[in-house]
Symmetry: C2
Subunit: 342 residues, 2 copies
């Protein structure tokens, strides 16, 4: 019997970037995936491939929260796709699955590495967004580390992004006054009009920290919870505005990913504010809450089903655009979750 | 009947310092305290007057953790003294008491503002040190915020100071490996020989952050708990060395008190380390644990009684030296708790 084969396209990660990621750091290659399967093997054809800020962290040469992403292998990434060949009783051709096949069209993997998706329960792409890693990060980062209380003022940086836009909405549902910080007037309108936030600050409209801080102070009157996705000047502006026993959640420092992790730039010292306000800072990662995914889904899935939550997606069409799409994250060109449809 | 009077000497706080405190910021005055007492009034003759780093924080014009210390009043401070006149049933002449009379020889106050001391239970001066505010800060800062576990590596900055020297010893008793950071070879010898620490780093022997960090890394192999009294370059060096789920306790930032609170200097951005290690920073103040003083005393008082803990005191003799003694804190000229005997 002649086994079927699949013409695969793959983005290999081949060179560590010093600053911004460019086409020279990836190589587009082709190979053939053999459809002859061992027991429990499955071939998945990706349909949505994820691009996430954490990928840029892992491109650093030194250890960050992981060993560096190796050179010369397919860029790791979460994917949503369909089974096209299966030697597993659990999966049939056509099944939608969440996997971790990376930036390639076809992935041959063990059935245990896949999670079946119900396309009737929620749009399958949400498994990479609101019901996936970004949703988990937002939910536990805010609820566990941020400890929001009704009446609290919550400030979210990167508020129009995949995680930030969810944090902001979860904060509203927890009874907080929510002020989002984002880049550009369009995103700020989106925060107010679509997400229903109580305020929005366009950080790009301010050329220095004091003027940005003044505007944030004007809109907030002080900050109880700061959910930080960006770091840098935005965080410099927010921290001196914290109130008594404020909780600062460090979920990302995206402003620093293009070189600032290896060669930190300088910012104003702020630890005295932690002392004066008896505040806390806590760093969180999505992986710390994988084992609690069911808790998050139990609450958030009904909101998705009933369209009670906005889970914007920015979709880039075309496998060839993956490296460029990664860059879009650092230029703030996405609204909500950024996906590449392939 | 002719009431007795007391010839009082007082240090008034009269001018806000911009940088280092100098004699021009205080004025020595004299007055007479009338010994004619209303019901429950007591006159206390101070014997030990406290000088503490927090005093320099409160000299700032803007709000820190308190409204600024007003100008034109006696410098506030904790004192240990003896009752010399009493209209309270609870106090008799000669009783030793802890009070908050400030930098003056005599204080007429309400009995409720005093706490009786038992000179047989512990040296009375310990009420301003190991069994007082600094002890409370050290105990709850470490045990509550720092969450030390046996086997943890604890780094203490300002380790030869009033709070740091206690934190270091409490950490040893909690089963930690303890490395102290202090200024000068003599203090480092003290940390090893007298406090029994596992290592000591003389930060003054290093002219830049990377070389200081190398030495701390060499001695620690990574940091589980960092109890920070100083901030600045020492903290710049320690934070990148934190291990998974490290706890950073911000108890003080003494390196920044001479102007750096109003005009923060710049330091390397470090929030990515909080993210990578899922670490926490928590600011603490002594006042947050006043209601739990009995918990601390129940554990620590027996150690004091049985001489199982070192509670070094640096004693300056002479009321006239109070402002100069305050300055000694910022020059690192004290070992353990700094007191002025009057």
């Amino acid at each position: 019997m002649q086994a079927i084969t699949f013409d695969n396209r793959q983005w290999f990660y081949v060179k560590r970037p010093e600053g911004r990621v460019g086409p020279e750091h990836y190589a587009l290659r082709e190979n053939v995936v053999d459809g002859a399967l061992s027991s429990n093997e499955v071939v998945v054809r990706a349909r949505y491939i994820s691009v996430d800020p954490y990928m840029r962290i892992q491109q650093h040469e030194r250890n960050t929260y992981d060993a560096p992403h190796p050179l010369g292998i397919v860029q790791r990434a979460g994917t949503v796709g369909q089974v096209v060949a299966s030697a597993s009783k659990r999966f049939s051709e056509g099944d939608w699955v969440l996997g971790y096949g990376g930036w390639q069209l076809y992935d041959k993997c063990h059935a245990n590495d896949l999670q079946k998706l119900d396309p009737d329960a929620a749009p399958v792409s949400t498994a990479l967004g609101v019901l996936g890693m970004p949703g988990r990060t937002a939910w536990f980062g805010l609820m566990d580390a941020g400890q929001p209380r009704p009446g609290d003022t919550l400030v979210v940086s990167g508020a129009a992004g995949a995680v930030g836009s969810l944090v902001a909405q979860f904060g509203k549902r927890a009874g907080c006054r929510v002020i989002g910080i984002a880049g550009g007037a369009a995103k700020c309108r989106y925060l107010i009009d679509k997400l229903g936030l109580d305020g929005a600050v366009d950080y790009r409209a301010f050329s220095d920290t004091p003027s940005l801080a003044n505007e944030i102070q004007r809109q907030t009157g002080g900050v109880d919870v700061y959910f930080d996705n960006v770091g840098g000047m935005v965080t410099d502006a927010v921290i001196p505005l914290i109130k008594r026993r404020a909780r600062i959640v460090i979920c990302g420092t995206i402003s620093q990913y293009d070189g600032g992790l290896d060669h930190p730039d300088l910012g104003p010292r702020f630890l005295q504010h932690m002392l004066f306000q008896r505040a806390t800072i806590q760093g969180i990662l999505a992986r710390d809450f994988v084992h609690r995914m069911d808790e998050m889904r139990a609450v958030v899935e009904p909101w998705v089903k009933n369209q009670q939550i906005v889970f914007e997606e920015t979709i880039v069409d075309g496998f060839e655009h993956l490296p460029e799409a990664l860059n879009m994250l650092f230029e703030g060109r996405n609204l909500g979750k950024l996906l590449v449809r392939v």
